[in-house]
Each structure stands twice: as C-alpha cells, then as structure tokens.
Subunit: 303 residues, 3 copies
C-alpha cells in the first residue's frame, strides 16, 4: 500500500502529468528486473507526457490515466476547476509557484464560484490539488485521487507477471482527453492491437456495491460493441473472480477516445467502484482491488 | 416494400449492429448477381460491424447508418436511452436476454426517468427496441426505424444500377458515432474519394413538407462547405427530381464525423423527411422516397 | 491599417471562407517578392478552403482562422446563427443571393429567436454577416470581425520577416472546427512540426486589460501542457514585449483540435484582447497589436 499512497500524493492534475510520469519511470526502472517479462518503454517529447510499456507480443492494451482533477489559479483569488472536482468550502489544497510551496483553503460562494484563501496572491496558472490524507482500515483504502492512482497501481501489479500486452499511462483524461488518439494510432499501426481495457475507477451506485467485486461497465456515455462485451463477460464468468455489471447513461473514460478514433478498437471499462468520487475522501474496498487485479490477469491471458 | 419492412423489424440499436450487418450481407450476396456492376465487399472484425461496397472507380461515397435508437436495461427496472428515442408510457419494447425473448412496456415517470414493466427482471445490459408495426397506405409508409432503414433501403436500390461509387453502412450514428472516422480514412487513403452524401432521414418542419420532394440539407449543427453545396444544388435542379432545401441549427449525422476527420471530405445530407421522429410511428411520403432514389442516382452519376 | 480594414470587410462566415482565401492568395502573391524568405504555398481542392505557407525549415506553426461568425437564412424570415454572434435588434446584416446584394436588419424576439427584415424573401441557405464599419482612433481600432482578421493581419505581418515556420489559415473555427485535423496531420507528417501558436483574439476580462500587452492564455476549455507553457512564458519574459496571462474556464480555439489530434502537438493561444466580442463593435488597443506581432516574431525565432 506504500506504492498506492505515494501515487495518491503525487501532484499531477491534467496538463501537469510530468511529475507522475517521472515517478513511474523511476519506479519501473527500479522494479523491472523482478518482472516476468522485460517490457519495452516508450516515452519522450514526441509522446508529450505519456508513457507506454510493451510486453511480448501484445494482443490487448490496458489504459490507465495519470492525471487527476484539480484547480487552476486565476486572478483575484479565483479558481477554475480542472475536470470535475467535488467542491466544498474548507477543503485544503496544495501546490507550488515561483514563490514557494502553497497550502491554502478552498472557498465556494453561494453562486458556486471558487476562491482560495491564502496570505499572499498565488501566481496565475498555478495548479492546485487536494492535500493528500491516505487512510487505511482492514477493509478499505481512502484518499484523494484513488481515481486513478488505483488504476495505475493495478497496471503496475499486472506488469509484474504480464507476458503479452501493452500498458499505456495516458494524460488529460479528467479534462476532455487529448492523448489517447496518439496511443490508439500507435497501438494499431505498430502492433495491430485492437482490444483495450480501461483500468480506471467507477462509482458505487444503487446497483453497484463495495466489496461485491470489480465492475465491468457495459456502457456509460459511450456504448462499447456488444460482440466484445459478450466476450469479456464470458471470460469474467469463467475467471471465477467476483464482478458486478454496470449500466450508466453518463460518465466517460479513455474508452471514449478509443471509440472515436479512426481505428477499430474494441474497449471495455473494468475497475473497482468507489464512494465520494473526485473528493479528498475517495473510498474503495480492498476486496474489489484484489478482484480487479485478478480479472485483469485473467483477461490479459485469455483475450 | 417487403425489404423495407424486414429492415425496420431488425433489432440493431447502436452497439448491437451485428444482426443488421449479417442481414445486409445475406441480402447483398443473394441479389448482387442481378446488379449492373459487381461491387467489392469490405467487412470483417477489423471493421467492427461496418460493411462497405465499392463499385467501379468511386468518386463519391454514400453513407447510411445501420443502428437505431433504443434502450439499455439497467437494474431495478430502470432503462437508459440509446441515442434520443421518443419516450411515452405504454410503448411496447422488444429484445432478448439469456432467459428468452422479451416483450415489455415502457414507463416514463414524472421526472422523466425510464422503467420497464415485465413479469421478470431483465438481465443488465440487454438492449430493447420499439416493437415493429409496419403500416403502408397509398401515399405513406409508417414504422419505427424508418430512420435509418429507409436510408439503407435507398442505398440498396441505388446499388442495383450504380457504376462508380462507395456505399458504406455505418454504426453508432444515433449515439455519438465512432465508426465513420475509420471509413473516412479508408475512402480517402485507398480510393481518393473526397465527396460524400449522407443517406439518412430528416424532419418535417415548418419549411419542409411531406410529398414535396427529397430534402437537401444546407446545414444542421455542422455547416458543409458552400463550394460543395452549390454543386449539389445545381445538379439537383438539373436532375428534375423534386427537392426541398433545409436549414437547421441542430441535429447531426454521419456528416459530422466526415467533417471533423483529418481528411478534406465534402459532405451533404440528402434524404426524405419524416414525421414523428424517433418514435414507433415514423412516417414518410412515398413520393419523397422515390425522389430520394432518383436524386441519388443522378448525383452519383454527375458528381 | 488599410489591409486590416479590407480583411474585416470580407464576407467569409464559417463554411464560406473561399472569398477570404482568394483575397489572401492575391495579397500574398502580390507582396511575397518583398518578404525575407519565399514560402511554399499549399492550397487547392484537396485542402478545401485552407491555405498554408511554409517558410524555411519550420519548427513551429502559427494558426489563424479565416472564418467569422454570422447567420444563415432559413425560411419565414428566420435566421440561424453561425458560431456565437452577439445579437441585438437593429444590427445591419449584409450578404448576397441569386437575386442580388442584401442589406437587411436583424430582429431578436422575446424568446431569443432571430429574424431578418428585408423587402423580399432571401434565398434559403444564404449567409449574412455584420455590415463593416471600420473605426480608428489614436489608440484603438474598432470593427466587426477583428476576431480573427487581426489574427490574420498579425500572421501576414509576421510573414514579411519569417525565416522558419508554418503559417496556416484555417476554416470553420467559429462553428466547431473541422479543418485543423488535416493541418495537424500534414504539419507533423510532412515537417515534423510539433509546436503551435494560435494567432487569434481573446477577451478583455476582470484580469486582462486594454493596452497592457498581448495575452498568453494558460488555459481555456482546454489545458495546454505545462511543459510547453513554461517555455512560452520564459521566452515572453525574455522578449521584453508586454504580455498578460489569462486563465479561463471556457472558450476555445484552433488549439482544441490540435490538442485532440492523434499527434503530440503542443499549442498555446497568444493574441490581443478585445472588447465587445463577436459584435459589430469589436475593439482592440493598438499597443496590444504591436506587442502581439513583436512576441510572435520573438517566439518564432526562439522556440
């Protein structure tokens, strides 16, 4: 859980993913000798802040976004949201500008506009994120940014034994996307990979519960192809790991950009459910994290 | 009209187009010997559920979407719309899950939420569509899903005598698209085709009437290039077939994805107008269907 | 200022950019002998109405959209907006249909619907734009369509001394885009250019003022990559030209389509601020126009 805790504490809202990419690069370079298969690492300026790992002869890609929701400092103490953070007066936000580290307080006025309270003006364009407060009990983990540091954690655990597949750490997911189209082009044109799993976190709802297993989402704002969903459900059933089916009208993921790309990529969102979404108190059941990893290992072998 | 009736009865909401693709494949393979030119058929898993026909040396592509609006079963009797279906308590919906065929009743509550009434729970993720009820009078046809089974019907009639052109049967149009980007890439890169017509159904409005001819849409949410529209209008006038001009602020079609693609494809929506859009009672005048086919035949020859 | 005045008077709403493209072609062909470097001109039907200039060995592209907001004539005196024009009863609109030139009056009813007042019916699909009324004082220029004819003017001034770079005149920006994806593909695939500047006009706000310098926008609806923004701010500071930083939640530009393209293009909006946006009375401070050109010249040399 130390890895997850460190991931959740990394300041990397949409557009500022570089620190998390560098954290991952360092982690991977340190741990890769113990992995079953040595992946090829793909990254660099011609990839902006994306990072990809290619294992063996890939048939399926796992996408996990690095960025989190947050806030951009405007002027006159105003804040502008990055993605859709939960907002409540009193939340503590952290960041850094040229004058030093920042720990300030979020204020939401009656019309819903956002401000910060801090003894000095913060430089325009500075990004702020929730102050990390990682909590763990026997059954649960709770922290800001389990969405999607848990999806990344899952991908890193999966990497340890993965034989064939792509793991792609993407950017900008919380704020309208922008990096997945390049990943889609590359995975199809270079490797012929046309199957994808979205390693991300979804919501506890009136039909999806803590501790009942990983969620296989049959649709959100976008609708995956039935032919592919049927295959995933059959394998999930076969796998023996507990899973729940979700059907949503709204919400979206890196799957949306795969869907809209000019490549015939089938995709499905598979991830643990959480409570208190996009707040400093995101909460996930440990059994669902375990089921998530188990199902990913099974799917990557049999898809 | 038997063909149109069969098309309208096919269960193929967005994401579940495979049955209609298979129906079309079978129809085409049966009828193609009588067609003037033998097209190349393009389809298969690397095309998801799309199906394309290439005739002679194509200069223009006709796009007709296969999918319809519908509903996805959630839990606790809830339904989530696929695309934008007209909803009214009492509509009969049909589908199938692992437990057998389903014929249930749509219920809309006061807040606009959707439910089904059926003696048993329907499996999560099951798709439902309006129960077919095809009606024909001397002047009109009426059925669910004339949008866009009539656009497909038009394309199949056109295919009988088409010498040069592409006909593409696309997917997901009613629910945000996703398949046209691949078709755009292919038609430009493989055939250099940069002209398109959208064979789809539009609305009867306060300026567009039943029986007054096929509609040439000068804009909807997207605005085609004037240079191309001028060409279409000149040819339509020359053709002698009755047509009406439409100007809309809203609405969209497969043209949107051609427009936004990284290829310089000019496009124009050309299709018959209907009443009672996206309901079980879509209604089109037969004279407009005839004008639609006539204008397509003329445009495909002269564009 | 005669050039800017002529640009502002050109009728070229989204979809009808051909007259402005032809104006620019003629202007460029006339003036190019005096330019420092002779660019390659890229245009033609396979580019729809786009026009691109390639200077030397380009590292950075400047995008300036040609189109303006406006109105499309519907039926029964109705108008449909092109993009988001400011609307007010009494504005004078101009255009042309097959029956001759049009100068009519805009009428906005209580529900916000738009109509024209003119002695005869105007043909369906005819586009109308604000009647030009170019005004100049010692400090300000004021006219319709400074957005984005000023961005084009800036690009043309820049062209005179530009040694290495791409200038792209794009289309459809005011109405959802559509032409930038092709430009993105071409600039990366043909020239390996992955840096972009958006030469466009932004808003005077409670943190951005007339006469305080060109605006470097740190975000709008989309968030550019921090790594690139940091580079731009450092160079802008170094340049000595006055500039202001903007942070917005809304608004968009050609940058959006570069962002969403399958190419790793970094982009930043750099442009003068204006008052009375999208009205016949757009107003910009001359000092900001000067700072804009100066900063572009510096950035294109040092990026």
């Amino acid at each position: 859980m130390e890895l997850l805790k460190a991931l959740c504490a990394c300041h990397a809202p949409s557009g500022s993913e570089r620190p998390l990419r560098d954290f991952l690069l360092h982690y991977i370079q340190t741990h890769v000798p113990k992995w079953k298969v040595q992946p090829t690492l793909v990254y660099g300026d011609e990839w902006q802040d994306n990072l990809m790992l290619v294992f063996g002869k890939p048939r399926t890609a796992v996408l996990a976004h690095m960025d989190s929701v947050g806030f951009t400092v405007r002027y006159q103490n105003q804040l502008v949201p990055i993605g859709g953070p939960e907002v409540k007066s009193g939340y503590t936000l952290v960041g850094q500008d040229a004058l030093g580290p920042i720990e300030c307080t979020l204020e939401v006025n009656e019309e819903g506009y956002l401000f910060y309270q801090f003894p000095r003006a913060i430089q325009r364009g500075t990004s702020l994120t929730f102050k990390p407060d990682f909590r763990e009990t026997k059954s649960y983990v709770q922290s800001c940014y389990l969405d999607n540091r848990l999806g990344i954690y899952n991908a890193l655990q999966l990497a340890e034994t993965l034989e064939d597949g792509i793991i792609a750490f993407s950017t900008w997911e919380e704020h309208g996307g922008g990096s997945v189209p390049q990943i889609a082009k590359w995975m199809v044109e270079t490797y012929g990979v046309r199957q994808a799993l979205i390693s991300d976190i979804t919501w506890v709802t009136d039909g999806v519960f803590h501790g009942k297993g990983v969620v296989v989402s049959l649709r959100d704002r976008n609708i995956p192809r039935k032919v592919y969903l049927d295959k995933i459900i059959a394998l999930a059933t076969e796998s023996g790991f507990p899973f729940q089916l979700e059907v949503e009208a709204h919400g979206s993921s890196d799957g949306r950009e795969l869907h809209q790309s000019p490549y015939p990529i089938d995709w499905c969102f598979v991830g643990a459910p959480e409570d208190h979404v996009h707040s400093p108190d995101e909460k996930v059941h440990k059994a669902d994290i375990k089921a998530m990893l188990g199902l990913y290992q099974y799917l990557m072998k049999h898809l």
